[in-house]
Symmetry: C2
Protein backbone atom coordinates (compact mmCIF):
# COMPACT_ATOMS: atom_id res chain seq x y z
CA UNK A 1 0.00 0.00 0.00
CA UNK A 2 1.41 3.36 -0.99
CA UNK A 3 0.16 6.88 -1.49
CA UNK A 4 -1.54 7.85 -4.74
CA UNK A 5 -2.70 11.04 -6.44
CA UNK A 6 -5.51 11.72 -8.87
CA UNK A 7 -4.87 14.05 -11.79
CA UNK A 8 -7.57 15.35 -14.11
CA UNK A 9 -7.84 17.64 -17.09
CA UNK A 10 -11.07 19.38 -18.05
CA UNK A 11 -11.11 20.24 -21.74
CA UNK A 12 -13.78 21.60 -24.05
CA UNK A 13 -14.29 18.19 -25.68
CA UNK A 14 -12.85 15.64 -23.23
CA UNK A 15 -12.49 15.13 -19.50
CA UNK A 16 -9.48 13.03 -18.70
CA UNK A 17 -8.44 11.63 -15.35
CA UNK A 18 -5.74 9.30 -14.14
CA UNK A 19 -4.37 7.70 -11.01
CA UNK A 20 -0.67 8.12 -10.28
CA UNK A 21 1.81 7.03 -7.64
CA UNK A 22 3.86 9.80 -6.00
CA UNK A 23 6.73 9.29 -8.42
CA UNK A 24 4.40 10.08 -11.31
CA UNK A 25 3.79 6.58 -12.63
CA UNK A 26 0.39 6.33 -14.25
CA UNK A 27 -1.59 3.46 -12.69
CA UNK A 28 -5.03 3.83 -14.30
CA UNK A 29 -6.92 6.25 -16.49
CA UNK A 30 -10.41 7.17 -17.60
CA UNK A 31 -11.79 9.74 -19.98
CA UNK A 32 -15.27 10.91 -20.92
CA UNK A 33 -16.67 13.36 -23.48
CA UNK A 34 -17.23 16.71 -21.75
CA UNK A 35 -20.64 17.40 -23.32
CA UNK A 36 -19.85 21.07 -22.78
CA UNK A 37 -22.94 22.30 -24.63
CA UNK A 38 -25.20 20.81 -21.94
CA UNK A 39 -23.95 23.34 -19.40
CA UNK A 40 -22.09 23.30 -16.10
CA UNK A 41 -24.26 20.89 -14.11
CA UNK A 42 -23.91 18.09 -16.66
CA UNK A 43 -20.19 18.76 -17.03
CA UNK A 44 -19.68 18.77 -13.27
CA UNK A 45 -21.50 15.45 -13.03
CA UNK A 46 -19.17 13.98 -15.62
CA UNK A 47 -16.06 15.28 -13.84
CA UNK A 48 -17.31 13.64 -10.65
CA UNK A 49 -18.01 10.37 -12.50
CA UNK A 50 -14.54 10.39 -14.01
CA UNK A 51 -12.87 11.07 -10.66
CA UNK A 52 -14.98 8.46 -8.89
CA UNK A 53 -13.59 5.78 -11.16
CA UNK A 54 -10.10 6.81 -10.14
CA UNK A 55 -11.05 6.73 -6.46
CA UNK A 56 -12.31 3.18 -7.04
CA UNK A 57 -9.09 2.30 -8.89
CA UNK A 58 -7.11 3.45 -5.84
CA UNK A 59 -8.55 0.40 -4.02
CA UNK A 60 -8.18 1.90 -0.60
CA UNK A 61 -4.67 3.31 -1.03
CA UNK A 62 -4.31 6.74 0.60
CA UNK A 63 -5.24 9.44 -1.92
CA UNK A 64 -3.11 12.51 -1.14
CA UNK A 65 -5.20 14.83 -3.25
CA UNK A 66 -6.84 15.66 -6.53
CA UNK A 67 -5.22 17.98 -9.04
CA UNK A 68 -7.33 19.45 -11.82
CA UNK A 69 -6.39 21.45 -14.88
CA UNK A 70 -9.12 23.56 -16.45
CA UNK A 71 -9.38 26.25 -19.11
CA UNK A 72 -8.75 29.79 -17.84
CA UNK A 73 -9.47 32.35 -16.78
CA UNK A 74 -9.49 30.78 -13.35
CA UNK A 75 -8.21 31.78 -9.95
CA UNK A 76 -5.66 29.21 -8.78
CA UNK A 77 -5.98 30.28 -5.13
CA UNK A 78 -9.76 30.12 -4.84
CA UNK A 79 -10.29 27.44 -7.50
CA UNK A 80 -13.08 29.47 -9.10
CA UNK A 81 -13.45 29.27 -12.89
CA UNK A 82 -14.89 32.49 -14.33
CA UNK A 83 -16.05 32.30 -17.96
CA UNK A 84 -14.00 29.88 -20.09
CA UNK A 85 -14.79 30.36 -23.80
CA UNK A 86 -14.95 26.56 -24.38
CA UNK A 87 -17.45 25.89 -21.57
CA UNK A 88 -20.73 27.62 -22.36
CA UNK A 89 -22.84 28.67 -19.36
CA UNK A 90 -19.98 28.66 -16.87
CA UNK A 91 -19.74 31.74 -14.75
CA UNK A 92 -17.70 31.87 -11.53
CA UNK A 93 -18.07 28.16 -10.76
CA UNK A 94 -16.30 27.27 -7.47
CA UNK A 95 -14.89 24.10 -8.97
CA UNK A 96 -12.34 23.37 -6.27
CA UNK A 97 -14.79 23.65 -3.37
CA UNK A 98 -17.49 21.63 -5.13
CA UNK A 99 -15.07 18.75 -5.71
CA UNK A 100 -13.54 18.99 -2.23
CA UNK A 101 -17.04 18.66 -0.71
CA UNK A 102 -17.85 15.74 -2.99
CA UNK A 103 -14.68 13.74 -2.32
CA UNK A 104 -13.54 14.97 1.11
CA UNK A 105 -10.04 15.29 -0.29
CA UNK A 106 -7.68 18.21 -0.84
CA UNK A 107 -8.33 19.59 -4.34
CA UNK A 108 -5.99 21.91 -6.25
CA UNK A 109 -6.94 23.63 -9.48
CA UNK A 110 -4.79 25.28 -12.14
CA UNK A 111 -4.95 26.75 -15.61
CA UNK A 112 -4.43 23.89 -18.09
CA UNK A 113 -1.40 25.42 -19.83
CA UNK A 114 0.19 26.24 -16.49
CA UNK A 115 -0.27 22.66 -15.36
CA UNK A 116 1.20 21.33 -18.60
CA UNK A 117 4.25 23.47 -17.84
CA UNK A 118 4.43 21.99 -14.34
CA UNK A 119 4.06 18.50 -15.80
CA UNK A 120 6.92 18.95 -18.27
CA UNK A 121 9.00 20.52 -15.50
CA UNK A 122 8.55 17.70 -13.00
CA UNK A 123 8.14 14.65 -15.21
CA UNK A 124 8.97 15.62 -18.80
CA UNK A 125 11.61 17.32 -20.89
CA UNK A 126 12.01 20.16 -18.39
CA UNK A 127 13.15 17.95 -15.51
CA UNK A 128 15.87 19.74 -13.54
CA UNK A 129 15.45 23.05 -15.40
CA UNK A 130 14.07 25.65 -13.03
CA UNK A 131 13.57 28.52 -15.50
CA UNK A 132 11.50 27.45 -18.45
CA UNK A 133 8.58 28.45 -20.63
CA UNK A 134 6.09 25.94 -21.99
CA UNK A 135 4.12 26.98 -25.07
CA UNK A 136 1.14 25.02 -26.35
CA UNK A 137 0.07 25.61 -29.94
CA UNK A 138 -3.26 24.16 -30.99
CA UNK A 139 -6.59 25.96 -31.56
CA UNK A 140 -5.11 28.74 -29.47
CA UNK A 141 -1.67 29.49 -28.11
CA UNK A 142 -1.22 29.27 -24.36
CA UNK A 143 1.66 28.94 -22.00
CA UNK A 144 3.04 28.39 -18.58
CA UNK A 145 6.11 29.97 -17.04
CA UNK A 146 8.31 28.28 -14.46
CA UNK A 147 10.71 30.57 -12.61
CA UNK A 148 13.03 29.35 -9.89
CA UNK A 149 11.24 26.00 -10.02
CA UNK A 150 7.81 27.48 -9.36
CA UNK A 151 4.88 28.58 -11.51
CA UNK A 152 4.93 32.29 -12.28
CA UNK A 153 1.31 33.24 -11.60
CA UNK A 154 1.14 37.03 -11.39
CA UNK A 155 -1.12 39.05 -9.14
CA UNK A 156 -4.38 37.36 -10.21
CA UNK A 157 -2.92 33.98 -11.13
CA UNK A 158 -3.44 34.81 -14.80
CA UNK A 159 0.14 35.36 -16.01
CA UNK A 160 1.62 33.53 -18.99
CA UNK A 161 -0.85 34.34 -21.78
CA UNK A 162 1.96 33.96 -24.30
CA UNK A 163 -0.44 33.76 -27.26
CA UNK A 164 -1.91 37.15 -26.49
CA UNK A 165 1.14 39.27 -27.15
CA UNK A 166 0.88 41.67 -30.08
CA UNK A 167 3.68 41.04 -32.54
CA UNK A 168 2.00 42.72 -35.51
CA UNK A 169 0.69 46.11 -34.49
CA UNK A 170 -1.01 46.46 -37.89
CA UNK A 171 -2.51 42.98 -37.80
CA UNK A 172 -5.94 41.40 -37.37
CA UNK A 173 -8.10 41.82 -34.30
CA UNK A 174 -8.15 38.70 -32.11
CA UNK A 175 -11.27 37.37 -30.38
CA UNK A 176 -9.53 38.44 -27.13
CA UNK A 177 -9.94 42.08 -28.24
CA UNK A 178 -6.25 42.64 -28.87
CA UNK A 179 -4.70 43.18 -32.31
CA UNK A 180 -2.04 41.18 -34.14
CA UNK A 181 -1.64 38.61 -31.38
CA UNK A 182 0.72 35.69 -31.88
CA UNK A 183 -2.33 33.40 -31.59
CA UNK A 184 -4.07 35.05 -34.55
CA UNK A 185 -0.94 34.68 -36.65
CA UNK A 186 0.27 31.20 -35.84
CA UNK A 187 -2.25 28.94 -34.10
CA UNK A 188 -4.06 26.11 -35.91
CA UNK A 189 -6.87 28.26 -37.35
CA UNK A 190 -4.31 30.73 -38.78
CA UNK A 191 -2.51 27.85 -40.48
CA UNK A 192 -5.79 26.52 -41.94
CA UNK A 193 -6.83 30.03 -43.01
CA UNK A 194 -3.58 30.60 -44.88
CA UNK A 195 -4.04 27.27 -46.69
CA UNK A 196 -7.58 28.23 -47.70
CA UNK A 197 -6.46 31.65 -48.90
CA UNK A 198 -3.65 30.16 -51.00
CA UNK A 199 -6.00 27.61 -52.51
CA UNK A 200 -8.49 30.38 -53.33
CA UNK A 201 -5.64 32.17 -55.11
CA UNK A 202 -5.18 29.01 -57.20
CA UNK A 203 -1.89 27.77 -55.69
CA UNK A 204 -1.08 24.12 -56.35
CA UNK A 205 -1.12 21.96 -53.21
CA UNK A 206 -2.14 18.55 -51.90
CA UNK A 207 -3.72 20.08 -48.78
CA UNK A 208 -7.23 20.33 -50.25
CA UNK A 209 -7.13 16.73 -51.49
CA UNK A 210 -6.24 15.44 -48.02
CA UNK A 211 -9.14 17.36 -46.46
CA UNK A 212 -11.60 16.33 -49.18
CA UNK A 213 -10.67 12.66 -48.76
CA UNK A 214 -11.92 12.97 -45.16
CA UNK A 215 -14.82 15.20 -46.10
CA UNK A 216 -13.66 17.74 -43.51
CA UNK A 217 -12.69 21.40 -43.68
CA UNK A 218 -8.97 22.07 -44.00
CA UNK A 219 -7.17 21.99 -40.64
CA UNK A 220 -3.60 22.55 -39.47
CA UNK A 221 -3.25 18.78 -39.38
CA UNK A 222 -3.88 18.52 -43.13
CA UNK A 223 -1.23 21.17 -43.70
CA UNK A 224 1.18 19.21 -41.53
CA UNK A 225 0.48 15.93 -43.39
CA UNK A 226 0.89 17.59 -46.77
CA UNK A 227 4.14 19.15 -45.60
CA UNK A 228 5.49 15.77 -44.55
CA UNK A 229 4.75 14.55 -48.09
CA UNK A 230 6.88 17.39 -49.42
CA UNK A 231 4.07 19.77 -50.42
CA UNK A 232 5.72 23.13 -51.05
CA UNK A 233 2.85 25.41 -50.02
CA UNK A 234 2.27 23.42 -46.82
CA UNK A 235 5.95 23.72 -45.92
CA UNK A 236 5.87 27.46 -46.57
CA UNK A 237 2.84 27.92 -44.35
CA UNK A 238 4.40 25.97 -41.47
CA UNK A 239 7.70 27.83 -41.89
CA UNK A 240 5.82 31.12 -41.73
CA UNK A 241 3.96 30.02 -38.59
CA UNK A 242 7.28 28.94 -37.08
CA UNK A 243 8.85 32.30 -37.85
CA UNK A 244 5.95 34.10 -36.18
CA UNK A 245 6.20 31.82 -33.16
CA UNK A 246 9.95 32.50 -33.17
CA UNK A 247 9.28 36.24 -32.91
CA UNK A 248 7.04 35.57 -29.91
CA UNK A 249 9.71 33.32 -28.38
CA UNK A 250 12.35 36.07 -28.79
CA UNK A 251 10.04 38.44 -26.89
CA UNK A 252 9.71 35.85 -24.13
CA UNK A 253 13.48 35.33 -23.95
CA UNK A 254 14.07 39.09 -23.61
CA UNK A 255 11.41 39.38 -20.92
CA UNK A 256 11.83 36.18 -18.88
CA UNK A 257 15.38 35.00 -19.73
CA UNK A 258 14.65 31.26 -19.42
CA UNK A 259 16.99 28.29 -19.97
CA UNK A 260 14.49 26.19 -21.89
CA UNK A 261 11.50 26.74 -24.17
CA UNK A 262 9.22 23.74 -24.63
CA UNK A 263 6.91 23.63 -27.65
CA UNK A 264 3.80 21.46 -27.22
CA UNK A 265 0.19 21.19 -28.41
CA UNK A 266 -1.30 19.62 -31.52
CA UNK A 267 0.33 21.94 -34.02
CA UNK A 268 3.73 21.09 -32.50
CA UNK A 269 3.31 17.55 -33.88
CA UNK A 270 4.76 19.09 -37.04
CA UNK A 271 8.11 18.71 -35.23
CA UNK A 272 11.16 20.06 -37.04
CA UNK A 273 8.98 21.65 -39.74
CA UNK A 274 7.95 24.08 -37.01
CA UNK A 275 10.95 23.94 -34.66
CA UNK A 276 13.57 24.74 -37.28
CA UNK A 277 12.06 28.14 -38.24
CA UNK A 278 11.49 28.92 -34.54
CA UNK A 279 15.15 28.22 -33.71
CA UNK A 280 16.38 30.09 -36.80
CA UNK A 281 14.33 33.17 -35.88
CA UNK A 282 15.70 33.10 -32.35
CA UNK A 283 19.27 32.89 -33.69
CA UNK A 284 18.60 35.81 -36.04
CA UNK A 285 16.83 38.10 -33.60
CA UNK A 286 17.51 37.43 -29.93
CA UNK A 287 20.25 39.26 -28.08
CA UNK A 288 23.26 37.07 -27.37
CA UNK A 289 22.99 36.81 -23.59
CA UNK A 290 19.42 35.53 -23.97
CA UNK A 291 20.01 32.97 -26.72
CA UNK A 292 23.40 31.47 -25.91
CA UNK A 293 22.21 29.28 -23.03
CA UNK A 294 18.65 28.53 -24.08
CA UNK A 295 17.36 25.35 -25.71
CA UNK A 296 14.15 25.09 -27.72
CA UNK A 297 12.74 21.57 -27.60
CA UNK A 298 9.53 19.65 -28.32
CA UNK A 299 7.31 18.69 -25.38
CA UNK A 300 7.70 15.13 -24.08
CA UNK A 301 4.36 14.34 -22.48
CA UNK A 302 1.99 15.14 -25.36
CA UNK A 303 -1.69 15.24 -24.44
CA UNK A 304 -0.88 13.91 -20.98
CA UNK A 305 1.17 16.96 -19.92
CA UNK A 306 -1.84 18.44 -18.12
CA UNK A 307 -2.53 15.22 -16.21
CA UNK A 308 1.09 14.96 -15.08
CA UNK A 309 0.98 18.64 -14.22
CA UNK A 310 -2.08 18.08 -12.03
CA UNK A 311 -0.03 15.53 -10.09
CA UNK A 312 2.93 17.92 -9.94
CA UNK A 313 0.59 20.60 -8.56
CA UNK A 314 -0.64 18.33 -5.76
CA UNK A 315 2.92 17.30 -4.89
CA UNK A 316 4.14 20.88 -4.86
CA UNK A 317 1.17 22.08 -2.76
CA UNK A 318 1.99 19.33 -0.28
CA UNK A 319 5.62 20.46 -0.24
CA UNK A 320 6.91 17.27 -1.89
CA UNK B 1 25.24 57.17 15.41
CA UNK B 2 23.18 54.96 13.16
CA UNK B 3 23.74 52.66 10.21
CA UNK B 4 24.07 54.14 6.72
CA UNK B 5 24.17 52.84 3.15
CA UNK B 6 25.87 54.18 0.04
CA UNK B 7 23.98 54.07 -3.24
CA UNK B 8 25.51 54.83 -6.61
CA UNK B 9 24.46 54.92 -10.24
CA UNK B 10 26.92 54.56 -13.10
CA UNK B 11 25.56 56.16 -16.26
CA UNK B 12 27.08 56.87 -19.65
CA UNK B 13 27.41 60.58 -18.88
CA UNK B 14 27.24 60.90 -15.07
CA UNK B 15 28.27 58.93 -12.01
CA UNK B 16 25.99 59.71 -9.09
CA UNK B 17 26.35 58.60 -5.50
CA UNK B 18 24.55 59.33 -2.28
CA UNK B 19 24.56 58.47 1.40
CA UNK B 20 21.31 57.22 2.94
CA UNK B 21 20.06 56.14 6.31
CA UNK B 22 18.36 52.71 6.48
CA UNK B 23 14.92 54.27 6.08
CA UNK B 24 15.99 55.73 2.74
CA UNK B 25 16.54 59.32 3.75
CA UNK B 26 19.16 60.94 1.59
CA UNK B 27 21.91 62.46 3.76
CA UNK B 28 24.50 63.59 1.22
CA UNK B 29 25.19 63.30 -2.49
CA UNK B 30 27.96 63.71 -5.03
CA UNK B 31 28.09 63.34 -8.79
CA UNK B 32 30.87 63.45 -11.37
CA UNK B 33 30.98 63.31 -15.17
CA UNK B 34 31.68 59.69 -16.20
CA UNK B 35 34.23 60.56 -18.94
CA UNK B 36 33.23 57.27 -20.54
CA UNK B 37 35.31 57.85 -23.66
CA UNK B 38 38.54 57.64 -21.62
CA UNK B 39 37.97 53.95 -20.95
CA UNK B 40 37.36 51.71 -17.94
CA UNK B 41 40.38 52.62 -15.81
CA UNK B 42 39.51 56.32 -15.76
CA UNK B 43 35.83 55.58 -15.14
CA UNK B 44 36.67 53.18 -12.31
CA UNK B 45 38.85 55.84 -10.73
CA UNK B 46 35.97 58.29 -10.84
CA UNK B 47 33.53 55.79 -9.32
CA UNK B 48 35.99 55.25 -6.48
CA UNK B 49 36.43 59.03 -6.01
CA UNK B 50 32.65 59.51 -5.90
CA UNK B 51 32.19 56.70 -3.37
CA UNK B 52 35.09 57.90 -1.23
CA UNK B 53 33.32 61.22 -0.71
CA UNK B 54 30.30 59.35 0.59
CA UNK B 55 32.46 57.26 2.91
CA UNK B 56 33.86 60.54 4.26
CA UNK B 57 30.35 61.95 4.60
CA UNK B 58 29.42 58.93 6.75
CA UNK B 59 31.76 60.37 9.40
CA UNK B 60 32.42 57.03 11.02
CA UNK B 61 28.85 55.78 11.07
CA UNK B 62 28.65 52.06 10.23
CA UNK B 63 28.31 51.63 6.45
CA UNK B 64 26.22 48.50 5.85
CA UNK B 65 27.16 48.24 2.21
CA UNK B 66 27.43 49.85 -1.19
CA UNK B 67 24.77 49.35 -3.85
CA UNK B 68 25.60 50.20 -7.44
CA UNK B 69 23.42 50.42 -10.51
CA UNK B 70 25.14 50.06 -13.87
CA UNK B 71 24.13 49.64 -17.49
CA UNK B 72 23.55 46.05 -18.56
CA UNK B 73 24.27 43.50 -19.64
CA UNK B 74 25.67 42.59 -16.25
CA UNK B 75 25.54 39.57 -14.03
CA UNK B 76 23.88 40.53 -10.72
CA UNK B 77 25.31 37.49 -8.92
CA UNK B 78 28.96 37.89 -9.93
CA UNK B 79 28.85 41.68 -10.34
CA UNK B 80 30.64 41.45 -13.68
CA UNK B 81 29.70 43.99 -16.38
CA UNK B 82 30.13 42.55 -19.86
CA UNK B 83 29.98 45.09 -22.72
CA UNK B 84 27.64 48.02 -22.01
CA UNK B 85 27.01 50.03 -25.23
CA UNK B 86 27.44 53.35 -23.35
CA UNK B 87 30.82 52.47 -21.81
CA UNK B 88 33.40 52.02 -24.57
CA UNK B 89 36.27 49.63 -23.83
CA UNK B 90 34.47 47.75 -21.06
CA UNK B 91 34.59 44.01 -21.36
CA UNK B 92 33.81 41.66 -18.47
CA UNK B 93 34.88 44.12 -15.77
CA UNK B 94 34.47 42.56 -12.27
CA UNK B 95 33.04 45.78 -10.90
CA UNK B 96 31.70 44.35 -7.65
CA UNK B 97 34.94 42.67 -6.62
CA UNK B 98 37.09 45.68 -7.55
CA UNK B 99 34.99 47.96 -5.36
CA UNK B 100 34.75 45.45 -2.51
CA UNK B 101 38.58 45.23 -2.43
CA UNK B 102 38.88 48.99 -2.54
CA UNK B 103 36.43 49.72 0.26
CA UNK B 104 36.41 46.51 2.34
CA UNK B 105 32.63 46.68 2.35
CA UNK B 106 29.87 44.46 0.97
CA UNK B 107 29.10 45.62 -2.58
CA UNK B 108 25.97 44.70 -4.55
CA UNK B 109 25.52 45.46 -8.22
CA UNK B 110 22.41 45.53 -10.38
CA UNK B 111 21.16 46.55 -13.80
CA UNK B 112 20.17 50.23 -13.62
CA UNK B 113 16.55 49.74 -14.75
CA UNK B 114 16.13 46.83 -12.33
CA UNK B 115 17.39 49.00 -9.48
CA UNK B 116 15.07 51.82 -10.46
CA UNK B 117 12.22 49.30 -10.18
CA UNK B 118 13.47 48.29 -6.72
CA UNK B 119 13.73 51.95 -5.74
CA UNK B 120 10.16 52.77 -6.78
CA UNK B 121 8.99 49.59 -5.06
CA UNK B 122 10.64 50.29 -1.71
CA UNK B 123 10.62 54.08 -1.54
CA UNK B 124 8.49 55.42 -4.39
CA UNK B 125 5.09 55.06 -6.01
CA UNK B 126 5.24 51.26 -5.83
CA UNK B 127 5.44 51.07 -2.03
CA UNK B 128 3.39 48.12 -0.81
CA UNK B 129 2.71 46.74 -4.30
CA UNK B 130 4.51 43.44 -4.71
CA UNK B 131 3.75 42.77 -8.38
CA UNK B 132 4.78 45.69 -10.54
CA UNK B 133 6.61 46.61 -13.70
CA UNK B 134 8.76 49.71 -13.99
CA UNK B 135 9.39 51.03 -17.51
CA UNK B 136 11.95 53.72 -18.25
CA UNK B 137 11.62 55.61 -21.52
CA UNK B 138 14.54 57.79 -22.56
CA UNK B 139 17.21 57.15 -25.22
CA UNK B 140 16.22 53.51 -24.91
CA UNK B 141 13.39 51.66 -23.22
CA UNK B 142 14.31 49.47 -20.27
CA UNK B 143 12.50 47.93 -17.38
CA UNK B 144 12.48 46.08 -14.14
CA UNK B 145 9.96 43.52 -12.96
CA UNK B 146 9.03 42.98 -9.33
CA UNK B 147 7.17 39.77 -8.59
CA UNK B 148 6.11 38.75 -5.11
CA UNK B 149 8.13 41.67 -3.77
CA UNK B 150 11.36 40.54 -5.40
CA UNK B 151 13.20 41.37 -8.62
CA UNK B 152 12.42 38.95 -11.41
CA UNK B 153 15.91 38.24 -12.77
CA UNK B 154 15.67 35.18 -15.00
CA UNK B 155 18.30 32.50 -15.45
CA UNK B 156 21.16 34.89 -16.31
CA UNK B 157 19.91 37.91 -14.38
CA UNK B 158 19.01 39.58 -17.66
CA UNK B 159 15.19 39.44 -17.62
CA UNK B 160 13.02 42.51 -18.11
CA UNK B 161 14.23 43.90 -21.42
CA UNK B 162 10.80 45.39 -22.00
CA UNK B 163 12.01 47.66 -24.82
CA UNK B 164 13.23 44.73 -26.86
CA UNK B 165 9.90 43.11 -27.57
CA UNK B 166 8.81 43.05 -31.20
CA UNK B 167 5.43 44.69 -31.57
CA UNK B 168 5.74 45.42 -35.31
CA UNK B 169 6.90 42.32 -37.12
CA UNK B 170 7.24 44.34 -40.33
CA UNK B 171 9.11 47.19 -38.64
CA UNK B 172 12.64 48.59 -38.57
CA UNK B 173 15.67 46.65 -37.41
CA UNK B 174 16.87 47.75 -33.99
CA UNK B 175 20.54 48.09 -33.01
CA UNK B 176 19.92 45.07 -30.75
CA UNK B 177 19.46 42.95 -33.91
CA UNK B 178 15.74 42.44 -33.43
CA UNK B 179 13.02 43.93 -35.66
CA UNK B 180 10.16 46.29 -34.80
CA UNK B 181 11.09 46.54 -31.11
CA UNK B 182 9.09 48.84 -28.86
CA UNK B 183 12.30 50.84 -28.31
CA UNK B 184 12.68 51.58 -32.03
CA UNK B 185 9.08 52.76 -32.19
CA UNK B 186 8.67 54.83 -29.07
CA UNK B 187 11.93 55.84 -27.32
CA UNK B 188 13.35 59.37 -27.50
CA UNK B 189 15.16 58.94 -30.84
CA UNK B 190 11.97 57.58 -32.47
CA UNK B 191 10.07 60.64 -31.29
CA UNK B 192 12.76 62.97 -32.65
CA UNK B 193 12.91 61.02 -35.91
CA UNK B 194 9.18 61.32 -36.46
CA UNK B 195 9.39 65.07 -35.87
CA UNK B 196 12.21 65.40 -38.41
CA UNK B 197 10.30 63.32 -40.95
CA UNK B 198 7.16 65.41 -40.56
CA UNK B 199 9.13 68.64 -40.90
CA UNK B 200 10.82 67.27 -44.03
CA UNK B 201 7.31 66.61 -45.39
CA UNK B 202 6.55 70.28 -44.78
CA UNK B 203 4.18 69.94 -41.83
CA UNK B 204 3.66 73.09 -39.75
CA UNK B 205 5.06 72.84 -36.23
CA UNK B 206 6.88 74.83 -33.56
CA UNK B 207 9.26 71.93 -32.84
CA UNK B 208 11.97 73.08 -35.26
CA UNK B 209 11.89 76.62 -33.89
CA UNK B 210 12.45 75.39 -30.34
CA UNK B 211 15.44 73.30 -31.41
CA UNK B 212 16.91 76.09 -33.56
CA UNK B 213 16.65 78.57 -30.70
CA UNK B 214 19.03 76.28 -28.78
CA UNK B 215 21.11 75.48 -31.83
CA UNK B 216 20.62 71.76 -31.13
CA UNK B 217 19.21 68.88 -33.16
CA UNK B 218 15.55 68.10 -32.50
CA UNK B 219 15.07 65.87 -29.43
CA UNK B 220 12.09 64.29 -27.69
CA UNK B 221 12.27 67.13 -25.20
CA UNK B 222 11.57 69.70 -27.93
CA UNK B 223 8.59 67.65 -29.03
CA UNK B 224 7.36 67.55 -25.44
CA UNK B 225 7.77 71.33 -25.01
CA UNK B 226 6.00 72.07 -28.28
CA UNK B 227 3.18 69.71 -27.27
CA UNK B 228 2.71 71.55 -23.98
CA UNK B 229 2.33 74.75 -26.00
CA UNK B 230 -0.46 73.05 -27.95
CA UNK B 231 1.49 72.18 -31.09
CA UNK B 232 -0.68 69.74 -33.02
CA UNK B 233 2.06 67.70 -34.68
CA UNK B 234 3.97 67.37 -31.39
CA UNK B 235 0.82 66.13 -29.66
CA UNK B 236 0.20 63.60 -32.43
CA UNK B 237 3.75 62.27 -32.20
CA UNK B 238 3.53 61.85 -28.41
CA UNK B 239 0.10 60.24 -28.70
CA UNK B 240 1.48 57.80 -31.27
CA UNK B 241 4.44 56.97 -29.00
CA UNK B 242 2.02 56.46 -26.11
CA UNK B 243 -0.12 54.11 -28.18
CA UNK B 244 2.93 52.05 -29.11
CA UNK B 245 4.04 51.95 -25.48
CA UNK B 246 0.47 50.97 -24.60
CA UNK B 247 0.71 47.97 -26.94
CA UNK B 248 3.91 46.93 -25.19
CA UNK B 249 2.25 47.42 -21.80
CA UNK B 250 -0.68 45.20 -22.86
CA UNK B 251 1.83 42.47 -23.76
CA UNK B 252 3.42 42.85 -20.34
CA UNK B 253 0.04 42.67 -18.58
CA UNK B 254 -0.86 39.46 -20.44
CA UNK B 255 2.51 37.90 -19.64
CA UNK B 256 3.23 39.11 -16.08
CA UNK B 257 -0.19 40.10 -14.72
CA UNK B 258 1.05 42.92 -12.46
CA UNK B 259 -0.96 45.28 -10.22
CA UNK B 260 0.97 48.40 -11.16
CA UNK B 261 2.88 49.75 -14.15
CA UNK B 262 5.22 52.66 -13.43
CA UNK B 263 6.33 54.88 -16.31
CA UNK B 264 9.63 56.69 -15.76
CA UNK B 265 12.60 58.08 -17.68
CA UNK B 266 13.11 61.42 -19.45
CA UNK B 267 10.41 60.92 -22.08
CA UNK B 268 7.90 60.23 -19.30
CA UNK B 269 8.25 63.88 -18.25
CA UNK B 270 5.61 64.43 -20.94
CA UNK B 271 3.17 63.23 -18.26
CA UNK B 272 -0.45 62.87 -19.31
CA UNK B 273 0.44 63.58 -22.95
CA UNK B 274 2.04 60.14 -22.86
CA UNK B 275 0.08 58.42 -20.06
CA UNK B 276 -3.37 59.09 -21.50
CA UNK B 277 -2.72 57.21 -24.78
CA UNK B 278 -1.00 54.40 -22.85
CA UNK B 279 -4.02 53.98 -20.56
CA UNK B 280 -6.48 54.27 -23.46
CA UNK B 281 -4.64 51.57 -25.42
CA UNK B 282 -4.67 49.28 -22.38
CA UNK B 283 -8.43 49.82 -21.97
CA UNK B 284 -9.01 49.07 -25.65
CA UNK B 285 -6.81 46.01 -25.94
CA UNK B 286 -6.06 44.20 -22.70
CA UNK B 287 -8.19 41.28 -21.54
CA UNK B 288 -10.46 42.18 -18.66
CA UNK B 289 -8.85 40.11 -15.92
CA UNK B 290 -5.51 41.78 -16.65
CA UNK B 291 -6.68 45.39 -16.81
CA UNK B 292 -9.37 45.62 -14.15
CA UNK B 293 -6.99 45.73 -11.18
CA UNK B 294 -3.95 47.40 -12.71
CA UNK B 295 -2.95 51.05 -12.36
CA UNK B 296 -0.60 52.89 -14.73
CA UNK B 297 1.18 55.73 -12.99
CA UNK B 298 4.15 58.07 -13.42
CA UNK B 299 7.35 57.31 -11.52
CA UNK B 300 7.89 59.23 -8.29
CA UNK B 301 11.66 59.26 -7.83
CA UNK B 302 12.76 60.71 -11.17
CA UNK B 303 16.48 60.53 -11.86
CA UNK B 304 17.10 59.33 -8.31
CA UNK B 305 15.18 56.05 -8.73
CA UNK B 306 18.42 54.16 -9.39
CA UNK B 307 20.12 55.60 -6.28
CA UNK B 308 17.18 54.64 -4.09
CA UNK B 309 17.14 51.25 -5.79
CA UNK B 310 20.80 50.73 -4.93
CA UNK B 311 19.88 51.27 -1.28
CA UNK B 312 16.89 48.94 -1.62
CA UNK B 313 19.22 46.31 -3.11
CA UNK B 314 21.61 46.51 -0.16
CA UNK B 315 18.72 46.31 2.33
CA UNK B 316 17.16 43.36 0.56
CA UNK B 317 20.49 41.51 0.28
CA UNK B 318 20.94 42.02 4.02
CA UNK B 319 17.45 40.68 4.62
CA UNK B 320 16.09 44.01 5.84
Amino acid sequence: MSDVIIGADLGGTKIRSALFDVRGHLLARKSLPTLASRGPDVVLGRIVACLREMVAAAQGQAILGIGLGAPGPLNPWTGVISTPPNLPGWHDVPLRDLLAQEFHLPVYVGNDANLAALGEHRFGVGKGVDDLIYITISTGIGGGIISGGRLFLGADGAAGEVGHQTIDINGRRDRCGNVGCLEVLAAGPAIARQANEAIARGEATAIATLAQAENRPISAEHVHRAARQGDRLARQILAHAGENIGVGVVNLLHLFNPRLVIIGGGVANAGELLLEPIRRTVQERAMEVFRRNVRIVPAALGDDAGLYGAVALVLSELGR
